[in-house]
Assembly symmetry: C2
Homo-oligomer: 356 residues x 2
Amino acid sequence: MYSVVMAGGSGTRFWPASREARPKQLLALTGSRSLLQQTVARMAPLTPAEKVLVVTGASHAAAVAGQLPQVPAEQVVAEPLARNTAAAAGLAAAWVAKKDPAAVCLVLPADHLITDEPLFIETLRRAAETARSGDFLVTLGLTPRYPATGFGYIEAGETLRPEPPQVCKVKAFHEKPDLAVAKEYLASGRHLWNSGMFAWRAEVLLAEIQRFLPELAAGLQELAPDLGTPRQARALARVYPQLPKISVDNGVLEKSAAIRVVKADFGWSDVGSWDAMAELWQEDHLGNACQEGRILAIEAKGNLVAAGGRLTALLGVDNLVAVVTEDALLILPRERCQDVRQVIDRLKRDGLDEYL
Amino acid sequence: MYSVVMAGGSGTRFWPASREARPKQLLALTGSRSLLQQTVARMAPLTPAEKVLVVTGASHAAAVAGQLPQVPAEQVVAEPLARNTAAAAGLAAAWVAKKDPAAVCLVLPADHLITDEPLFIETLRRAAETARSGDFLVTLGLTPRYPATGFGYIEAGETLRPEPPQVCKVKAFHEKPDLAVAKEYLASGRHLWNSGMFAWRAEVLLAEIQRFLPELAAGLQELAPDLGTPRQARALARVYPQLPKISVDNGVLEKSAAIRVVKADFGWSDVGSWDAMAELWQEDHLGNACQEGRILAIEAKGNLVAAGGRLTALLGVDNLVAVVTEDALLILPRERCQDVRQVIDRLKRDGLDEYL
């Protein structure tokens, strides 16, 4: 069994902490370890470090390897450019299949946060067991906690295993809904958040890619002889740009008949924006929270502060986000956290590339 | 002629930039030089550095001397504790009188900002000339620009010299007014802001102190033999605690009959709070201003930022003050700038002395 950590993100929503050279998964947004480090450490009960494969962008490979000294260097695979998750998952499956085609790949985003780790491990064990029991692509579906419009949904079908973590057939995949539809999904009890976490045998994913994305399959076959050899980087540079840009959900899972979903209900966050830190950082009784350091609040509530250990005095301000880094300061209302990309756009327009 | 720079302030309203060990006058709030350095440099056309006397608190004397390498070290006089401006001005007059009793002292606060320096110099020349022409205590009265309630007022009497800078007799001193009275003062055309800037011959101030504050006069006489000698610090430590705590305005000027006021209309600010920086820093077209560095404003206006050269991104926030130092961050609305002392109070209450 392998853990495949998908560390290709280049998120901009955590600017100024996240930068092109330092994406979200490399940041220590909670505690002292980065989300990537937490992701790898969390898998230890299932896979030792020598069975961890990390797929990341070439520009982040050195930083990723630096954060994960326990993972063998050749198991940090650098994509020369981003080609979405079908290519990344396919690349990982092809890499693993060279060692053992029947090995189960547990595919995990590097930038999510899990709070109930024992239940997470139990759920992944169930997913791995399901992947081993037949030619299935297994996806984890999270029990929705609110009518989210920012996630895709998996509609569960027939329940195959009623003891939790439950295993079900999949009736349908649904794109991100509007709020009214999201409320229906929440009420139905059958719709689950599409988490981006999967389990499958390497050979099973490769077979489904062969069926639904033959162009990707051809590329992976061309790569295969060079994977895990000193020729790997050159082969990737040659083949990768030609691979189709499509997600593994859209390109494979939604088309395949061999899908199972494991219902997941461990504490989970995709840490989508600064605003998400409210539930992850310790709040005071006025709802002010900081990453580290201390907040001194006078007539101030609901503020989120990442000020690098500084003492933060807030007087008469509510529901702000403030972030201080070595070279930048960001202040905005919490409800505008999704608009941080506007700052990125402005930096680009103004030629302030050193802050990207 | 001597410039006497009153550098005894321990202002808290510029926290977190100002600290007990680094009061406002030692900060470079505008440009690269501190207010103290600007004050001394500004006097160069009137007095060379060897004719500058700085009176400051013992805990700041080393920092003051460090910022003013051109001023002879023995001319930074350290008060062992604060005894208000009558004692400080009297001490300076006694110090100067030992060299030359007839020397004019130009007394200037170390923490004010002057924008029209040529007119400032011209006004001080007129004040010095008036001080030399008779046994007068000369005060500078600033033409009010708005109905300020934070300053005392000088009511000008008979005009003795009509060409500007005008010299007048003084009809009355008035305490800080309420807003209605301040509006009357502004409308009268005869009321001037009491600036805390003075000119007098050393012997004249000492004579008036003898008349109105005999206890202070006695202390100064006891100090006199030791001033300017290696025994000065020990003498100050012995005598200073007994001196009366009173301002030179309340203790001497308001009682004296020998007062003249010179009307002053150079660009002036007492730099009373962060909010005052709005007119001193360069504003963008949305009224955002920063001390150094750069502001990137998106739907944000009227904000003031001191972030130590950082790029500051403001999105959807108005009329805030944000200050970043090495160990602290402050955010508050501009209209609450006077309340920064509440932060100081809270720091004391919470035992966070390292931030004071």
